[in-house]
Amino acid sequence: MSQVVLFNVFNGLIVGAFYALMALGLSLILNLSGVINFAHGGFLALGAYLAYTLIPYTGFWIALLVAPLLTAALGLVVERILIRPLYGQDPLYSLLLTFGLAYIFEDMTRLLWGAQSVPFQVPQWLMTSLSSQYFFLTGYRVFMMVIVAVAVGGLFAVLKYTRLGMRIRAGTRDLDTVSTLGVNVRVLRSLNFGIGIYMAGLAGVLAAGLLGLSPTIGANLIMPSFVAIIVGGLGSLLGTLLGGLLIGVVSGLAAVYFPSATEAVIYVMMGLVLLVRPRGLLGEEGRLH
């Protein structure tokens, strides 16, 4: 395969990893609480900007660790004050509220950090290429894939092996029964939300290094995350992960052969999936509501 195709596929895989990371957070929140968090992109941007602010003081690595945690903390506050009262109501309201939050987040980041793109400092040694033949295999790109893999692996491990994870998984199937078994459902939803936002913040820090940082970074990444969830399958986290990677790669291939359709092609894929298999590739039956 030519260098160009390889480059775009690899790039697509990386971007797909971002989509997947963000979509996983979205999916977690959606599955357990039935909330479409339109502000997810805003949290992503916030994570990136927080890291950007921290880097001059703490360096890249501490910022990578701390910024997502700070973002998750803010997420917990938002959940407690604004979103918790909406559980059990029509999903319309949480969608509208997070929609409004997205506006506010974008405007606030523009107010605090300016409307222009800002340079995001990544450690220099990461930027060098690892291979003379495949120039695009920079240390940063490989590093990002590793971090995403670790984060996703960590998430799946938490869900499978910890009590919290088990409760979350049970909650996505039947929250009422989980509640009658004595689990504090309010705390569960909060923690779940926090984990989801952590993923968004982490995705933000990583994405800023690759895509550059401007106030619209979140808005650009949120729509593909939606598509990743739809394509991968409603209710299935593995499906969301695969969906994200898949649309990333497809988008990358489109960049080679059909450059003007790079964004539209993921929606075409979504349309096809809806036509042929509405519950998504790995979706579960009966999850359409």
């Binding site: 999903p91 003007s260 929606y267 979504m270 359409l288």
Partner: protein, 296 residues
């Protein structure tokens, strides 16, 4: 200027915009408030109506009314196809899919520079005066004439919607909203009704879109974007989803507010976002919903 505009210190173009957005919000509410289906992608059909009308005038040189009709036809066909794809979904998933489909059209309009003018929008055309042979209405030069033209279209569409909602079809839509399972047991063909409601709603929204393009003599991809969809939903909720005229009230408040705030501050986006948050937390039943409750 329309006489009521003087009272609130507005201007003709603002009044026309309120009429247009009011129509759009009321069309959305046909689906949202009366059928209980959450569509967050109505901007797609609004924009298709706008682009359809604009391209008809620019490339085919038709008059204003044929332009509107063309815009409506294009958008309605799209709604029929897309509606068929998504009618099996409900709730949050339906909303997500409508958002996603809205964005496809946004990207098409954005990228297809040669035809749609890309991000700069479709310019170089303007609405033509209406010539019926026996009378000519100059709706191009005369802002006030265009306001009345828009009002006529508004009245026709709203009248049609009212007729539909008061018919047995409309009652079955409300039944679907209140308790879908029970409606299904009663033999109401749910998927077909939801699809039809979706198509009707998109039809009228596209008429509003076409009017919007004619109003500005311009259209751009922003007419297709998800923020417009969100704005339409908040207009419906703000005015009162469960009442027929609610969305018009919501549209009036929203458009006037947006106009005022954007002239006062750069951070109008935060204010609009704040409106969303406040409405959801404190006024979920909307203005007319609250008034109705106060009376009862």
């Amino acid at each position: 200027m329309p006489f009521w505009m003087n009272a609130i210190g507005g201007y003709t173009e603002l009044a026309t915009r309120i009429v247009v957005m009011g129509l759009a919000a009321m069309s959305l509410n046909f689906l949202l408030g009366f059928t209980g289906v959450l569509s967050f992608g109505h901007a797609a059909y609004f924009g298709l109506g706008a682009y359809g009308a604009a391209m008809a005038i620019k490339y085919l040189g038709v008059g204003s009314i044929p332009a509107i009709l063309l815009g409506v036809v294009v958008a309605t066909i799209a709604a029929m196809i897309i509606g068929a794809l998504i009618v099996k979904l409900r709730g949050v998933y339906f909303a997500m899919v409508t958002i996603a489909f809205g964005q496809v059209f946004y990207f098409i309009a954005f990228r297809w520079n040669a035809v749609t003018g890309g991000d700069d929008g479709l310019t170089g055309w303007h609405r033509l005066p209406i010539n019926f042979g026996f009378a000519e209405f100059d709706i191009y030069q005369n802002d006030r004439a265009f306001y009345y033209f828009a009002l006529v279209i508004f009245a026709i569409c709203v009248g049609a919607m009212a007729l539909l909602l008061n018919s047995p079809f409309g009652r079955s839509l409300i039944a679907i909203r209140e308790n879908e399972r029970r409606a299904r047991f009663l033999g109401v063909p749910i998927e077909f009704h939801v699809w039809l409601s979706f198509v009707i709603s998109c039809l009228f929204v596209s008429a509003a879109g076409a009017l919007y393009a004619l109003l500005n003599n311009f259209t751009d991809p922003r007419a297709l974007r998800v923020d417009l969809s969100g704005n339409l939903v908040i207009m419906a909720v703000l005015g009162g989803m469960r009442s027929f005229w609610g969305p018009l009230v919501g549209a009036a408040i929203f458009v006037a507010l947006q106009d005022y705030v954007s002239s006062q501050t750069q951070n109008w986006m935060s204010v609009i976002g704040l409106v969303f948050v406040l409405v959801v937390r404190f006024f979920p039943r909307g203005v007319l919903g609250m008034l109705r409750g106060a009376r009862a």
